[in-house]
């Protein structure tokens, strides 16, 4: 049963240089308690997709088409006030940089309490108790309740962010590169923490990252984006073991692995496309080793092969 259903979402930025088609017809869904890893490089549109779920797209961008249905509610039609009720309470977000995402002038305890009291009508004491519990859940001792953000290290700050995110028991957490700014060992701690939390609270997570390794540690499903399009989506094991789309396989070959027996690391020739004037047809075709004529002229259809979604002409039965 789908908690979140995105259908043909289009988000464009109207800049002076032209229209940037950041998200150009993306459909995906997340079930309750499921972790979807959204993978892509710079310019893929993954971050824009994340913030559009919270109605936080900065001008000059906006949603120009498609729908986002969250637990039966059409998010694209909500007013800002209505959205404010959902933000933080039912859908919450963890950002990349814990250094700048917390108010430096606010004790973290106060920050947590205020978050609760804005959304729910509870007494200060109850808010305080719940806040302390949330901090304990993410591994922060209660003595630090009255500390300021600058008194925490990067990893601890990210834990505070996570505490804020789970505070009101949301159904969905959007984590946008939550570990990119952290050291490897701390990164592992945070990923494990997220995994435990989602199991305990049956939360869904949309984990956005350029690092397919990080994503594969806890994702049930993985979706790959390229230049505003969703090019492949399937069970994590299937994508990692048997990727269908040329971009996905190329991406997997570009990541150095500890276990590999010195396989040659590959790169993808060319460079990420200009989203103002993307290539005609399939946006990946200039860099694809299998590109055919049809790839250069017509945008591929998205096909579903036993729950393995891929947007590539190689898998369309009939080319017409």
């Amino acid at each position: 049963m789908s908690l979140l259903n995105i259908n043909e979402l289009k988000v464009y930025y109207f800049t002076k240089r032209g229209v940037v088609r950041a998200v150009d017809g993306v459909s995906l869904s997340i079930s309750r308690g499921e972790v979807l890893g959204l993978v892509g490089e710079s310019g893929s549109g993954k971050s824009t997709l994340g913030i559009s779920l919270l109605g936080l797209i900065p001008p000059p961008g906006r949603i120009v088409g498609g729908s986002i249905v969250f637990d039966g509610v059409e998010l694209t039609k909500l007013s800002d006030d209505e959205f404010a009720k959902i933000r933080g309470k039912r859908i919450s977000m963890i950002f990349q940089d814990p250094m700048t995402s917390l108010n430096p002038l606010m004790k973290i305890g106060d920050h947590l309490m205020e978050t609760i009291m804005v959304h729910e009508n509870v007494s200060k004491n109850e808010a305080r108790e719940r806040s302390i519990k949330a901090l304990e859940e993410v591994g922060i001792p209660p003595e630090r309740f009255n500390d300021y953000p600058h008194q925490f290290s990067g990893g601890m700050r990210q834990r505070v962010m996570i505490a804020l995110a789970i505070l009101l028991n949301p159904d969905l957490i959007i984590a946008d590169e939550p570990t990119t700014a952290l050291d490897v060992i701390v990164q592992a701690q945070i990923i494990d923490l997220l995994n435990n939390l989602r199991k305990r609270h049956n939360m869904s997570i949309l984990l956005i990252s350029h690092d397919i390794g990080v994503v594969s540690e806890i994702a049930d499903k993985i979706a790959v984006m390229y230049a505003g399009h969703l090019v492949e989506m399937a069970d994590a094991n299937k994508i990692l073991g048997d990727p269908l789309h040329p971009y996905t396989s190329a991406l997997l070959r570009a990541v150095p692995l500890i276990e590999s027996k010195s396989e040659k690391l590959c790169y993808i020739p060319g460079s990420p496309p200009d989203l103002v004037k993307p290539p005609r047809g399939c946006r990946f075709h200039p860099r694809c080793p299998y590109a055919k004529d049809i790839c250069r002229t017509r945008e591929p259809r998205t096909v579903n092969i036993k729950d393995h979604i891929v947007k590539c002409w190689m898998y369309c039965d009939a080319y017409e």
């Binding site: 490089e41 490897v184 701690q189 690092d211 990692l240 190329a250 570009a254 150095p256 692995l257 993808i268």
Partner: protein, 329 residues
């Protein structure tokens, strides 16, 4: 080619940075505090090898890199380049030394002068060291541009950094470092700000140029997987000290130091999900201002013993070519 000759060596290399304090603090308290960024590092880098220097935040790897190319002056210890002491050289002698020691920075966006044409930026070292001027300089720059794949070279010569992508800018930085055919290059996280799909291209370029110009690399990175891919030997640093040093194969097949084992197990692995046992350290890296006594890892180490909080372990050769600083051994 004499492969075993040492090109750069350090003895007890140390760099402390005084902690910035406000005016009032300075007046009131006499005690000065130092960030012990690099705290007694012994290294021997062999000719034409790629030595990876691996570690997390605050381990001192970046500072070490800058010390080796003398962008910083050591607080203590010695640096020898081809047997000659370069620890405190200054002025003209230091400038001449720069011909042989170069550095590639992490950020391709910030390491290029926004007001300088690409061709001028790459050719500038030639002018500075009186190697070539005018037409001859231009010719050498064009050849370099061809070598790194920025073609048509004539077109790229005239462009400014903001007109290039991140990967292209990094190739410009590499050209600038290589054009003097230096003996030794410090590469400070050269690919961490490049898109994943383009990193291998930069690494391949660096490897090709290494073969052609017979350069020695110190490859600084926080990513063990990348270190495994590019290096002959790996040195792992923690809080200003080297904790383990071995050949790449040896380090991964037989890691000794608990920190190294934790690093290896923490690396996220893309691949069908396998249940793995992770060796995780508790807590986080402490501040380099007041490092823990004895072995710096002891507050977080699962194998901690009595002696660990009292005595600092020395970096000793446990097996041939495999050094580790840990009381377990």
């Amino acid at each position: 080619m004499p492969m075993n000759r040492t090109i750069i060596s350090t003895t007890n290399l140390t760099k402390y940075f005084p902690v910035q304090r406000g005016f009032l603090e300075r007046v009131i308290s006499r005690k000065l505090e130092y960030i012990r960024a690099v705290d007694g590092v012994d290294l021997e880098i062999r000719e034409e090898e790629t030595l990876a220097l691996v570690g997390e935040t605050g381990c001192g790897k970046t500072t070490t890199g800058r010390l080796l190319v003398r962008l910083l002056e050591p607080t203590g210890g010695d640096i020898l380049f081809r047997g000659k002491r370069i620890t405190h050289v200054k002025g003209e002698e230091l400038r001449k030394l720069r011909r042989h020691l170069q550095i590639i920075f992490q950020d391709p966006y910030a390491s290029l002068n926004p007001r300088m044409k690409i061709g001028d930026a790459i050719g500038h070292p030639l002018e500075i060291h009186d190697i070539a001027k005018g037409k001859e300089k231009r010719q050498m720059v064009l050849e370099m541009l061809e070598k790194v794949g920025l073609t048509p070279a004539e077109r790229y010569y005239e462009l400014y950094p903001h007109q290039l992508s991140g990967g292209e800018r990094q190739r410009v930085a590499i050209s600038r470092a290589m054009i003097l055919k230096p003996d030794f290059i410090v590469a400070d996280e050269p690919i961490s700000m490049i898109d994943v799909s383009l990193r291998a291209k930069i690494l391949e370029l660096m490897a090709d140029l290494k073969k052609e110009f017979h350069v020695t690399y110190l490859f600084i990175t926080h990513d063990l997987a990348t270190a495994k891919y590019v290096s002959d030997r790996i040195a792992v640093m923690y809080l200003g000290k080297i904790v383990e040093l071995a050949t790449t194969d040896e380090l991964f097949s037989n890691p000794l130091h608990p920190y190294v084992k934790a690093l290896i197990s923490a690396i996220p692995r893309p691949g069908p999900k396998v249940k793995r046992e992770r060796l995780l350290l508790k807590g986080e890296i402490p501040s380099p201002i007041n490092p823990p006594s004895g072995c710096r890892l002891h507050p977080r180490c699962p194998f901690k013993m009595q002696i660990c909080s009292k005595e600092e372990p020395k970096l000793l050769e446990k097996e041939r070519g495999h050094y580790v600083a840990c009381h377990l051994y």
